[in-house]
Each structure stands twice: as structure tokens, then as C-alpha cells.
Amino acid sequence: MGVSIFIQQVLNGLTLGAVYTLIALAFSLVMGILGILNLAISEIFMIGAFIGFSLIMSGVPVWLALPGAMAVAAVISMVIARIGYEPLRNASHITPMLSTLGFSMILQNFATNTWGSDPMQLTLEGWLDTRFHFGLVSLSVVQIVVFAVTLGLCVLTALLIQRTDIGRGLRAVAENRDVSRILGVRPRRMILVAFALSGLLAGAAGVLVGLHYSVITPYIGVDIGLKAIAVMIVGGATNIWGALLAGPIIGILEVLTVAYGGAAMRDFIVYGMMIAILLVRPQGLLGGSSKTSGGRV
């Protein structure tokens, strides 16, 4: 039984890690390209969860609710980029960070007034409510959806960043604004694209969280957002695959700490790991040096 419990815990960790991965990616798209910490991402994630929830509850099928919520999240993110980030582009990196904090307050207050502070619950029906049992280990359809969507979005994001003009434009702006301009890239547009992508991912994470945990409040963004920052750092703030690796690592680490070490130590270990990575390998697990990695965002 010990083994199956262990496997179950690893599955639990992977699910949590998938969510971390998406939010960490959302953070790193903005961080890697613009060098700012967009603290509103936590709340965009939360809004995404509520939009997805509301859509599903009003009978919209999941495959439609997901892109719907992602789109709303992307629009919010773009508004933040235009109002809260762009005018402050030349200020020190703290000022835009605090302006995104202002947007967090607005979004959180908006959610409280729109959906209430009490937990909102979703009851899944039909195929979404199915579980598969393998001995003592069980896996739900929603968990599989979470894995699939996360992996799919990571691959899509990676393809977009690596293989398309938009992606190359983003990376060019990230590396050298002036050079990108003489190649015809419009930095303002790329900033908007980066924020939009980041919003899409955070929104998707929100919907998945809503689906899987089926309980949300306007305050779910705060803690998970901080953890996602840790995941971003551990994986390497400028590397997509870093988040894909670090998300599950932190997720599993957390879950195993809870399972075998006592829940109390959990945050201590996660943030301790983040600090250790920062000190030993500031570029993150997969960051590589600035020249060796072609996979930079």
C-alpha cells in the first residue's frame, strides 16, 4: 500500500505542478521579455477561474469555456499593459511592478463584488465526473484534462516562441530593443503580445484550477501566485521548458513534504529551494548561460 500511496501522491503533485507551470509561464513571459514582475497575473488567474466557472455553470461546454476565459484574461492583461506598464516603461522596475499591484487590488475587489467572497462551488457531471481506478491509485478525467491542456499549451507556447515571426520578434525585443527596431519589430506591439500570451496562460490555469478543485474564491490568486514566482525562478525565468520542469518538481516536492514530512514545513522548503537556486544557479535549472540557450523567451 505504501507504493500506491506514493504513486497517488506523485499524481497529486503533478496536478498541482501543472497549474504552477502555467502560471509560472505567464509570469516568465512578461519577466523574460520586459524584465518586470507583473503581480496582477495572480489575479488574472483568479478572474480566469471565475469566468470559466461562470461559463461552465451556465451550461457552456468546457471546450468553449476554456478559450472564452482565456480570451477575457488576455484582454485584461492587455489593458494592464497599455495603462499600467507602457507609460512606465522607462521608470525603474519597481514602479511598473507596483502599478500592477494596483490592478490586483482592482481585480480582487471587482471579483468580490461580482461573485462574492464565499467559495463558489462547481458540481461536475457526466464524463467530467469520471475516475479511473488502478488498484488504490485513482485518476480523474479532469486530472487528465489538466495534464493534457497544460502540456498542450506549453508546446503551443514553445512553438509560437521558437518557430513563428511573432515569437522571434518577442525574443528580439527581449534581447535588444534597438536591434529589434531596425529589423522592423514594433516593441510596443510585442509588449502587448507578451502580456496577452501571459494572460491567456494565466486564464487557462484559472479554468483548470476551477475544474479540478471545483472551489474558488477571489483570494485564490495570492498564495498560488507567490508559489508560481518561485517555480519560475527555479526553472529559469527566461526558459519555457524550465517552468515545465520546475512546476512538477515543486508540485511533487510540496506534496511529498506534506505526505512524509509534515505540512508545516512545506512553504519553508519551497521558498528555501527558490533561494538556494537563486544563489547557486540564478539563471534557474534550465536557464543556461545567456549564449548557450537558444530556447530563451
Binding site: T15, G116, P119, Q121, S138, V209
Partner: protein, 409 residues
């Protein structure tokens, strides 16, 4: 016994809202008697605060329509503290100094209460919490701090044996919110002790299972719970966190009955895992089949549901009942203890209200007689309820005080 108590309750509420009996008090016509309330109308408990506000507005109207307090108009000044301790203190000071209220209902959360009660003592003004159930808070803040709640320790002591008997529990496992002061005090200290006292094996005594407020993912904790194969789960957490645990238990197919503290009391819990027996103690729930409660519920529910910022399906909670009782009690105290509502008598009036609260009054709340023990906590009857078919059902009635007759009329 239950029936007679209920009858008394109706009479009591009727007496306090409908028939003003001025015993020794002067006529206060033309004056205003002000009370204050501190509610968490923004932040993570915004719904509590907003619902509290509706209940208080209703009470204000009822009292004034029934002739006010010895002829004086009753006014309730309500402030939001966002469930933040610093703001709660600010608001308490503002109520005491700027608004010159006679007594304050609130603040709600234990964290805010811990900080506000010492200030109440400093300022010499009664402060009565509608939510806080963290063990020992009022006791540490005599003589001005009161709570119209029952200490979780006292409740647990009576609930656990009943629960164990009902569900034939031999071994149990505890899961608690380690970040929530109340839940962690109960989960880490009180419940283990009570389990031991009742001869129930505590399966996670060595490595307690806990999580943190705000955690979305408690899958690891629940998997661990499941692996311990308990007869029952003791869930010590605020309802909004408890839902996360219950949902995870549902997801993992855990079918063991759950017992918890007053913190579980919310209609939201009912939807989380309807198939599971969930047992908790409470002094009030919306479906309680008692006339006084029905009157209150019927009156306040439509008002709450009409509020733009509250969900259309909301029902009055334990805390709405508590704060309604608190200010009702203030009103009764003002009447009977003969406050003058004159600015010069402010300190004396405040002392009168405090003394009235500390004394053996004949105040009857929604669920029965309410008194305050020497430790500042309420002595009142409570119900052991179980979530069943989407509503709370009372299993048993008890009194929070071990003394015989403490809750009798």
C-alpha cells in the same frame, strides 16, 4: 425541554423588539442612542460583513418602529474593517471617540478581536465579537471584551462524545488549518485532548495533518488521511477552507463522517459533499425550526437577497444571528440599565451596559436565553447539527455551560 426553551425564546424576542418596558429609565424622547458595529464588509469575509450589515439595518428599523429605546431613536454606526486587525482597531477607536457610541458589536475575526479587545479595555467600551471562537480570547481581555459565541473548546467537549456514539467512532484522524489561529488551536490542541479523553484513537497524533489558509490543493493531506483509514475525520477549519478539504475527500472517494467546530457552519458546506455526514455544533442555523429564528430568517433573508453585492441564494448565517442578538442585547441593556444618552454621561452609560452584560440578565436571543460567563463568552444553548439533504438538521440540543440550568429559562 427544547420546546419550552423555544417558547421562551419567542416571548423574549417579542419582548425586546415589540414591547418596550421602561423599568427605572427616564424618557429619552428626542435623543439618539448610538451603537457601533465593526464588520468585515470587504476582503476575504466580505459576505459575512455585508450580510451582518443587512441584519443590523433590519434591527435598527425594528427597534425604532417599536418606539426606540425609551423613546430615543436607536442608531447603529457600521464600519468595515476588511477583516484586518489594524483597521478593526481604528474603527473601534473611531466609534468610541468620534461617534461616541455606547457599545460596539464586533469585530468579527479572532485576529481582529485579539487586537481590538485590549483597546476596548483601554477606552472603556464594550466590544462584543459576533464570530470569534478562538479559545480564551475574551478571558484574556476582561472586563470590556465579550463574545457572543461559545469557545470552541467548550463545544468540542460536548460534540465529540455525541458524534463518536452516533457514528461508532473508535479511531479518528484530525486535519486542520495551521494558518488560522482558531482552527489550529482547536486542531492541534483541543481536539487531540478530547479524542484522548473519550478513548478514541488519534491516528495522526505523531505527524499532524494540516494545511494553510488559501491552499487550493489539499490532495496530499487527504490522500494521507485516507491511508490512515479512520472511522471519522475531525476537520478543524473555517468553512471556506473546509470546503476545499471536503471537495478533495469527495474527489478521492472518502466516505468517513466528518465532525468539526462552529467554524464549519455555513450553507456553503452543504453543497460541498452532500453525501457525507458532516456534524458540527452551532447556536443558530437558518433552517432551525424555532419561531424566533423563523421570524428572524423570514425577515432578513429577502433583504439580504435584495442586496446587489450578496448572492441571490444567501441565507442568514450564525454570525448574522449573533450580531443581531448583540445589538438587541445592547438595546435591552440601554433600556433597562437606564442610560441617559447624554454626552456627559458617556462613560457612565458605557459602564452601565457593561455591567448589564456581565450580570444575570433575562435576555433571550434567537435560540434561547443568552448570558455572559465570567470569562466573557456567551452561555447559551446550542445545537449539534448534521448536514443532510442540502440542509442542516438538528440532532441534539445542549448547553454551553456545564452548570445545570444555565440555559434554562
Amino acid at each position: 425541554m427544547l420546546k419550552s426553551m423555544m417558547t421562551a425564546a419567542i416571548l423574549g424576542v417579542a419582548a425586546m423588539t415589540a414591547v418596550p418596558v421602561a423599568v427605572q429609565a427616564e424618557d429619552l424622547t428626542g435623543k439618539t442612542v448610538k451603537f457601533g458595529a465593526i464588520v468585515p464588509a470587504s476582503g476575504p469575509f466580505a459576505e459575512w460583513g455585508r450580510a451582518n450589515t443587512v441584519a443590523l439595518k433590519m434591527l435598527e428599523k425594528q427597534v425604532n418602529e417599536a418606539g426606540g429605546i425609551n423613546g430615543a431613536k436607536m442608531e447603529i454606526v457600521i464600519y468595515d474593517d476588511g477583516a484586518k486587525p489594524a483597521q478593526a482597531v481604528s474603527m473601534l477607536r473611531k466609534l468610541a471617540d468620534d461617534d461616541q457610541v455606547l457599545a460596539v458589536a464586533g469585530p468579527a475575526t479572532s485576529s481582529a478581536v485579539e487586537v481590538a479587545f485590549p483597546v476596548a479595555n483601554q477606552l472603556g467600551i464594550v466590544s462584543v465579537s459576533q464570530n470569534s471562537s478562538k479559545p480564551g480570547v475574551a478571558a484574556a481581555n476582561r472586563p470590556w471584551g465579550f463574545r457572543n459565541t461559545v469557545d470552541e473548546a467548550k463545544l468540542a467537549r460536548l460534540v465529540v462524545p455525541f458524534f463518536a456514539k452516533t457514528f461508532d467512532v473508535k479511531k479518528a484522524a484530525i486535519i486542520y488549518d495551521a494558518k488560522d489561529a482558531t482552527a489550529s488551536a482547536a486542531g492541534a490542541k483541543i481536539f487531540p485532548q478530547i479524542l484522548a479523553d473519550n478513548g478514541i484513537e488519534n491516528l495522526d497524533a505523531d505527524t499532524p495533518i494540516s494545511f494553510n489558509t488559501g491552499d487550493l490543493d489539499v490532495s496530499a493531506q487527504v490522500t494521507k488521511l485516507r491511508s490512515l483509514q479512520p472511522d471519522a475525520v475531525v476537520l478543524s477549519a473555517d468553512y471556506s477552507q473546509a470546503i476545499t478539504v471536503l471537495r478533495e475527500m469527495k474527489r478521492q472517494g472518502m466516505k468517513t463522517p466528518v465532525v468539526g467546530s462552529t467554524q464549519l457552519m455555513s450553507s456553503a458546506i452543504l453543497a460541498a459533499y452532500p453525501e457525507l455526514p458532516i456534524v458540527a455544533p452551532t447556536t443558530f442555523f437558518a433552517g432551525l425550526d424555532v419561531p424566533a429564528v423563523k421570524t428572524f430568517t423570514d425577515g432578513v433573508t429577502p433583504l439580504m437577497r435584495a442586496e446587489k453585492n450578496l448572492p441571490g441564494t444567501i441565507e442568514p448565517s450564525l454570525f448574522d444571528a449573533n450580531i443581531y442578538e448583540i445589538v438587541s442585547l445592547f438595546a435591552q441593556a440601554a433600556k433597562e440599565a437606564g442610560v441617559t444618552a447624554a454626552p456627559a454621561d458617556l462613560a457612565a452609560d458605557r459602564t452601565r451596559i457593561r455591567d448589564y452584560m456581565a450580570s444575570e440578565s433575562d435576555f433571550v436571543g434567537l435560540g434561547g436565553k443568552v448570558r455572559f460567563a465570567a470569562d466573557g463568552d456567551a452561555v447559551k444553548s446550542f445545537f449539534i447539527v448534521q448536514a443532510k439533504d442540502g440542509k442542516w438538521t438538528s440532532l441534539e440540543t445542549a448547553c454551553s455551560s456545564p452548570e445545570a440550568d444555565a440555559c434554562a429559562q
